[in-house]
């Protein structure tokens, strides 16, 4: 390993980003970032959710066009107007969400768009299968290239995605959380593969939340925060604490308006909740006025559990007690009337109805309140919507404006207002500040502690460490569908959170050695 390290910094970058900016309505996803990738080296890109990592990947692979700045290859400016153009320049990616085709065979998934051709320009199926076989063997995957992708498990799909990325003559390989779904053995094989690619002189951009693996395989690091470039350097010059500090970028207690709420009696008790494939053995209690944080990596099963709690999916076993009484919740409608509401993570798909006006979004779960004998009453609807949106300090042209026309932060305020208007006892907020601007974030945090102070019980699912630390009275860490730890008081530190969430059993100094 020391051999590869010693090369670091010796050469010019293959690929560099210079001042890349990308704006979406309401959010500046990338704000003048830079990044350099060197041949034969692994650069780890580190940042919280919403730091801009995925946007960088999409910019590098021709899915997004930057609004400003330059992409340089070998020092020359290039443009990637299409996915094909990026591939033609030798940039290839293993995406976070595996973008593959269930109905096509493994070999076709690997070679779609650049399949070997035989006579009459037809696809040479035999050659394609043989080359797929070779590629899969090369990464130690025991997969038949002839089977349909839908017959593979999630880990095998990842390996197919990796094989696809390697099937083109790549100079730059981007790996977006490639180990998220792999077992320990498969992860070890992936590390070997990364070493092979390094030896071939490919530049690798490695995106990961797991610090142990970053220290295991990366030569360089780059940190992004809120769409901005924070720093870049050699791994041997930093330790885990340095990286966490740069990622988080602020000392936690300064910024969160957490008030001391009077925590009262037990409101919600969940016993032995389980689902065949998503989570099991979930037990916890929630008290009046408490903010309970749920931390974990993306895909740890937190949202899946919450959605089961409100009746979107059925648990295979488990029970819920609300105010000491057992409640059976089979649908969101029953959850709402029981007083448990869930503010989903995906605003556009699950939270808001973007093409409907603000007031209709707010009143949708509370139409019983604003209507009379099933007939809607506009004046009551506007009054209810006004009451809750004003409390959240919503900024909009009118209450009749389409929600889709608002910024991400204001959309989130509408979504929170919508569920608050049902006057719940327990409110579950799933990533309540994901992808919204800093001002709206603060407003949401402020409001959250106000609610707790008023005696509402809050569950906050979040992947942002400072938010979890700053807002929660108590934190449950989930990993791979189970509760990994319950933390409170002094035990609640960034290090303990990261360690429990990632399942790190050894200390960082061991990992780096």
């Amino acid at each position: 390993m020391d051999d590869t390290r010693s090369k670091a910094g010796a050469e010019h970058p293959v690929l560099a980003l210079d001042g890349i900016t990308k704006t979406f309505p309401g959010v500046k996803a990338l704000d003048g970032v830079k990044l350099a990738l060197y041949p034969g080296e692994v650069t780890a890109l580190i940042g919280e959710n919403g730091a801009g990592k995925s946007t960088v990947v999409k910019t590098l692979t021709g899915i997004y066009q930057p609004d400003g700045g330059q992409i340089l290859m070998d020092g020359q400016p290039v443009a990637f107007p299409t996915a094909q153009a990026a591939q033609d320049h030798g940039v290839t990616a293993i995406h976070q969400e595996t973008v593959l085709f269930d109905e096509l065979s493994v070999a076709e998934n690997i070679f779609l768009g650049h399949a070997p051709r035989g006579r009459f320009g037809l696809i040479d199926t035999a050659a394609m299968k043989a080359r797929a076989r070779a590629l899969l063997d090369g990464i130690g995957a025991q997969i038949d290239p002839g089977v349909k992708l839908k017959d593979l498990g999630i880990a095998s799909r990842h390996l197919v995605a990796i094989a696809r990325a390697l099937s083109v003559e790549a100079r730059v390989v981007i790996m977006d959380e490639p180990t998220a779904a792999l077992s320990q053995k498969e992860i070890e094989e992936l590390y070997e593969l990364v070493d092979t690619l390094k030896a071939q002189g490919k530049a690798i951009l490695f995106i990961s939340h797991k610090f142990d693996e970053i220290f295991r395989i990366a030569d360089r690091w780059a940190v992004f925060r809120d769409g901005q470039f924070v720093g870049q350097g050699l791994m041997r010059d930093v330790d885990e604490g340095d990286l966490v500090r740069m990622m988080v970028g602020r000392s936690v207690d300064q910024i969160f308006p957490k008030r001391a709420a009077r925590i009262g009696e037990e409101v919600l008790k969940v016993v032995g909740y389980a689902h065949p494939t998503e989570f099991e053995d979930i037990n916890f209690t929630l008290r009046r006025g408490e903010i309970l944080g749920f931390y974990g990596l993306v895909g740890a099963g937190r949202s899946e559990f919450m959605q089961s709690l409100i009746g979107i999916t059925r648990p295979s076993k488990g029970a819920v007690k609300l105010d000491g009484k057992i409640k059976v919740i089979r649908s969101p409608a029953e959850a709402i009337s029981a007083g448990i509401v869930y503010v989903p993570e995906d605003r556009g798909k699950q939270g808001a109805i973007l093409d409907m006006p603000i007031f209709q979004n707010v009143t949708l779960p509370s139409l019983g309140q604003t209507s009379k004998r099933g007939f809607t009453r506009m004046a009551e609807e506007f009054a209810l919507a006004r009451h809750y949106t004003e409390r959240l300090d919503l900024r909009a042209a009118s209450l009749d404006t389409r929600v889709g026309a608002l910024s991400g932060g204001n959309q989130q305020k509408v979504v929170i207002a919508k569920w608050l208007a049902t006057q719940p006892k327990v409110i579950i907020l799933d990533e309540p500040t994901k992808g919204i601007d800093i001002g709206s974030k603060a407003a949401v945090h402020d409001f959250m502690s106000e609610l707790a102070a008023e005696g509402l019980s809050v569950i906050m699912v979040s992947s942002e460490i400072p938010e979890i630390l700053g807002m929660s009275d108590r934190v449950i860490v989930m990993r791979e569908g189970r509760i990994a730890a319950e933390l409170e008081g002094d035990a609640l530190t960034p290090e303990t959170l990261v360690r429990h969430a990632a399942g790190i059993t050894h200390t960082p100094s061991e990992a780096a050695a």
């Binding site: 692979t61 899915i63 299409t82 996915a83 094909q84 591939q87 995406h95 973008v99 593959l100 085709f101 269930d102 109905e103 096509l104 076709e108 779609l112 768009g113 399949a115 320009g121 037809l122 696809i123 199926t125 089977v147 349909k148 839908k150 017959d151 498990g153 999630i154 880990a155 077992s183 065949p276 494939t277 998503e278 989570f279 099991e280 895909g299 740890a300 099963g301 899946e304 791979e480 569908g481 189970r482």
Partner: protein, 325 residues
Amino acid sequence: MSLLKSREAILGAAIVALLVLIATRFPAFVEPKNLLEVFNDTSPLIILALGQMVVILTRCIDLSVAANLALTGMVCAMLNVAWPGMPIGVIMVIALACGALMGAVNGLLVWKLDIPPIVVTLGTMTIYRGIIFLLSGGAWVNSHEMSRAFTGVPRTQILGLPLLGWIAIVVALIMAVVMSRTPMGRSFYATGNNPHAAVYTGIDVGRSQFLAFTISGTLAGLAGYLWISRYAVAYVDIAGGFELDVVAACVIGGASIAGGVGTVVGTILGALFLGVIKNALPVIDISPFWQMAISGAAILVAVTFNSRSGRARGRVILKSAEHAQ
């Protein structure tokens, strides 16, 4: 064994079972000569269904195929009346071009203006039918007006099977190669299976849909000439409602209306299933009026079956659950 293959096997077995059942009481039905006749009779449906399948693969639907067939057929018939000496080869090229043009119009409206396919083809379906009336003035072109070659060529027997049947076989072979061995064919599957991912792999989804409609139109055009010459008559309402049989053949053959699923073999079997039933009913002395209800029921059974076997898996988070699968 993938589910899709077994699905085709089940359909094939169903057809065989049907034939055996009929044969127990009416052995004449399964004589080779009659089976060839059944195949020949089903040929236009096979040709149209193969085109429709490509469209359905890309998450679209083409309801204008029967109108396209009728209009192309009328154009061919009128050309034949006007210039009886025009070679059949030329007429067939014109039929292909005429059908392709109509398919391309559908495709352009879907691709460039992003109009939902069902609206586009509902509209063009009535427009194409109307144009037949404008061309013909509502008059029929009857067999005595058509040249002998015009009606005779598709009936030419080669090895006991009329040319019409051979054309269906050739179309099936070409489509099998195109769908499995060309980048375009595979891109149809990719487009419908996961349009989002298709963009990542450099596929233009709209363009794929345009090509699919053009292929469907071209095949409808070909079927147009064959239909008119086989029945030796052309009029406005010819093949009215046939688009539903075509969609039915695809669905029975395993194509999913949600896109990305469907095979050439399955579609041919779907068409043959309907063809066997249609031809068997009069033989086994059941009123042909049963045919419509049977194909309706077959569609419902097929779509229920498809959705059972093709249900997507949920996300697997628990390691133990993943290994247990």
